[in-house]
């Protein structure tokens, strides 16, 4: 490859990296829950990226590559502070989700009927503000939160998630399963606390 081609390739790589800045910053903020720390981690991520930019291959996917660096920087960041992110052990049974609760709570929903009715699941979901959903995601253990972010919010494939987090693809699947079920339960718990649904299961009327 001529030096000229090489320079063009680097230029493209720099532009690619910059185009993912908002996503990288968003993920860093979700990881640290702190804007100042998020900025530090993003800066370190890009410093590391630029040092290995000459090794960067376009076909491998710039965004996944940056997320992998970000994840490593984040782990180092907490190791240096001698804080361990909240890694938890969870039992095999784990969270079961809220499907059965939804069915038994909302008269409009049935196991054999259409699931989305204005006074059923959709009505329930519409009560949540974006901030409340964000809080529910933030309250998940780290190993669950990162998969909700990578798969559901950033759209990475299972293989990309496995590469970024350096875990087997089977672990991605089982953690993502538990992450989604746990998130549903967080939302349900929050809805119960806020009186969006009553503990007895009856739907609270809006404004009641």
């Amino acid at each position: 490859m001529s030096p000229c081609d090489d320079e063009e390739r680097l230029d493209r790589a720099r532009k690619d990296c910059l185009s993912h800045l908002d996503a990288i910053y968003g993920a860093a903020f979700r990881m640290t829950k702190n804007r100042e720390d998020a900025e530090d981690i993003v800066q370190e991520t890009y410093l590391k990226a630029v040092r290995s930019l000459h090794r960067y291959r376009e076909e491998s996917g710039c965004k996944a590559w940056l997320f992998k660096i970000l994840t490593n920087v984040y782990i180092d960041f907490y190791r240096k502070r001698k804080q361990v992110p909240d890694v938890v052990e969870f039992d095999e049974e784990g969270a079961t989700g809220i499907y059965q609760k939804i069915l038994s709570t909302f008269p409009g929903e049935s196991e054999t009927g259409p699931l989305h009715s204005p006074d059923g699941l959709d009505g329930f979901l519409h009560r949540f503000m974006a901030d409340e959903v964000k809080s529910a995601i933030d309250s998940l253990p780290e190993i669950f939160r990162e998969l909700i972010v990578l798969r559901d919010l950033e759209g990475f494939t299972y293989q990309e998630c496995a590469d970024i987090l350096e875990i087997p693809i089977g672990t991605v699947m089982s953690r993502l399963h538990r992450a989604r079920k746990s998130l549903q339960e967080e939302l349900w718990g929050y809805a119960t606390d806020m009186g969006y649904v009553s503990p007895a299961g009856a739907v609270e009327e809006a404004g009641a």
Partner: protein, 80 residues
């Protein structure tokens, strides 16, 4: 003739199916099952709605301008 799968098997495939990660042949088997099993269809509809809800509720962060300036300067550094 597509192999018949059970509800228990179907329940294990839900997320992989919704994520587009199920092998095409297994996805076809699952879809055949869904055509005749409204219980599993209900589960799929529910899980799909929940994932979409989380995605729709998530507002994208914008990197602060000061950070963007710093990152642009970082990217101008020579590589290697």
């Amino acid at each position: 003739m597509t192999r018949q799968i059970t509800c228990e098997e179907a329940s294990r495939y839900v997320y992989r199916y919704l994520d587009g990660e199920l092998e095409p042949s297994t996805a076809t088997e699952l879809e055949s099952h869904l055509e005749v099993c409204r219980l599993c269809m209900g589960v799929i509809a529910f899980e799909r709605r929940m994932i979409e809800f989380v995605q729709d509720s998530s507002t994208a962060e914008i990197a602060p301008p000061g950070l963007r300036d710093r990152i642009q300067r970082v990217l101008e550094q020579p590589s290697g």
